[in-house]
């Protein structure tokens, strides 16, 4: 029987010591769970500290994440989780762009376009199944 998972055997990385962060972004203060594994996005290096650019003066945040496999169909769900997490934790003055790291996804442009179309995001967040999935990933403790 073939596993139904997109990436059945992901590499789990050792937790890195976090440098203390000042400022409004607490994306890493609470872990975000991978949609199909009991690991955090940080454990899987989907997201790293360096991948979060914050320009407090311009009220701008850009998050660049790296899907574990090139054909990851979970990429839009991961991106949606990141966006919701930031919507819930950042002051509303922030503009947020979310993208997959260049060259890490087969349909990079399509994923980026969808994640940054706020009308599509708004519609997705009215879908109870998707909201459940996002809430599950953002649940404060999963270990």
């Amino acid at each position: 029987m073939v596993s139904g998972l997109i990436n059945a055997n992901p590499i789990v990385y050792e937790k890195k010591e976090r440098r203390p962060r000042t400022g409004p972004v607490d994306l890493e203060d609470e872990d975000i769970k991978d949609p199909e594994h009991p690991y955090s996005l940080e454990d899987l290096k989907v997201i790293t500290e360096d991948a979060i650019e914050v320009d407090d003066k311009r009220s701008y945040v850009r998050v660049t994440f790296t899907p574990t496999v090139e054909h990851c169909s979970m990429a839009t769900v991961i991106g949606l989780c990141l966006r919701v997490k930031l919507m819930r934790s950042l002051p509303s003055r922030y503009k947020v762009d979310i993208r997959v790291a260049p060259g890490t996804h087969a349909t990079e442009a399509a994923v980026n376009k969808q994640l940054n179309d706020k009308e599509r995001v708004a519609a997705a967040l009215e879908n109870p199944n998707l909201v459940d999935m996002v809430d599950d990933c953002l649940a404060p403790s999963f270990e």
Partner: protein, 351 residues
């Protein structure tokens, strides 16, 4: 009246309308109000699933909440549009339906619900005579509905052609020609061939013919209907022109040609453009600003055809989703935002 120029123009905030509990997407001025001494009426629709109707007490006084349309749409109300007679209001929702409302006393009564789209309806528009309605959806289709006596609405055509969700539909201000714009980066023009309800795509404007390079969010026309302006996620707005005389003659199709691109002005997605009857183009963008553009009168041949009249930074605390000019007489501009508010502005010379 003093003349507004780029040196003295000021967009003054007249009023902030609060009450929506989620982002405000669309706005529509009732076209039969705001002139000839009739107090202006404005509809706003929101992610809070409601539509709010705001009215001036007198032609010069402030706006107040007149009615709330709620408990019908079960998801975001994305767009609203008054019929040309001002008697009916159409509301398009993410719940896949479009509702038609009539005012009865102080309340609004739902006359009909247009069903058929597979998922989110994103925009609704009435043609000039009020005999046709167009809707569009994430299901990539554009539907044309006929308005029949007795509050009946019949789907007369389902137009396929866009390859992604359709963001907005807009009828030409005088002719029965329909325009749609999409997440597929194109603008499509639809016209009837013969008199048999046989609607076809007569022109597609894409990146290869000077069109936009990302999602096209909105379309508006000048007063005479020979120019069109479009706004996009590519951070530009574009102006298009067509021969109105041959358009009216019905003698073959008059294609729309690229006239100019206004780029370098917007920092984030331009969600809305609206052309005033006096020729001022307003834009609302995700950089929280409202900008006004006018035709460049000093221009002789070369140089830009349009110039920035003014930029209102931080017009809202969050993205500006819609900008709509009121009647020529009152010179008001309404804007709506993710910050949950609607604002009323007046363009005037600075004193």
């Amino acid at each position: 009246m003093a003349i507004v120029t780029e040196d003295n123009a000021e967009l003054k905030e007249i009023q902030k309308l609060e009450g929506h509990t989620d982002r405000v997407w669309g706005l529509a001025w009732n076209p039969t109000t705001g002139a000839d001494g009739v107090p202006a009426v404005l509809a706003s629709c929101s992610g809070d699933k409601t539509v709010r109707i705001w009215q001036q007490s007198s032609p010069t006084s402030s706006f107040h909440l007149k009615a709330i349309i709620e408990d019908t749409h079960t998801r975001t109300v994305r767009s609203c549009s008054w019929s040309p007679s001002g008697k009916l209001l159409a509301t398009a929702s993410f719940d896949a339906t479009t509702a038609i409302w009539a005012q009865v006393g102080d309340d609004f009564e739902c006359l009909s619900t247009l069903e058929g789209h597979e998922n989110e309806v994103k925009s609704v528009s009435w043609n000039a005579s009020g005999s046709l309605i167009a809707t569009c959806s994430r299901d990539k289709s554009v539907w044309i509905w006929e308005v029949l006596p007795g509050n009946e609405f019949d789907c007369v055509s389902v137009l396929q052609g866009h390859t992604q969700d359709v963001k907005m539909v807009h009828w030409h201000p005088s002719e029965d020609i329909l325009f749609s714009c999409s997440y597929d980066n194109t603008i499509k023009v639809w016209a009837e061939e013969g008199d048999s309800d046989d609607w076809h795509c007569v022109q597609t404007i894409n990146e290869a013919n000077n069109g936009h390079s990302s999602t096209v969010w909105s379309i508006s026309f000048n007063a005479t209907g020979d120019k069109m302006v479009t706004s996009s996620d590519d951070l530009s707005i574009k102006v298009w022109g067509a021969d109105i005389v041959s358009m009216r003659s019905g003698d073959g199709y008059a294609p729309w040609k690229h006239l100019c691109t206004l780029s370098g002005y917007h920092e984030r997605t331009v969600f809305s453009v609206h052309w005033s009857r006096e020729g001022i183009i307003a834009s609302g963008a995700a950089d929280d600003a409202i900008r006004l553009f006018v035709e460049n009168q000093d221009n002789l041949g070369d140089g830009p055809m349009y110039k920035l009249l003014l930029k209102k930074e931080k017009a809202h605390e969050m993205d500006v989703n819609s900008v709509q000019w009121g009647s020529k007489e009152n010179g008001l501009l309404a804007s709506s935002s993710d910050d949950g508010t609607v604002k009323i502005w007046k363009l005037a010379p600075r004193h």
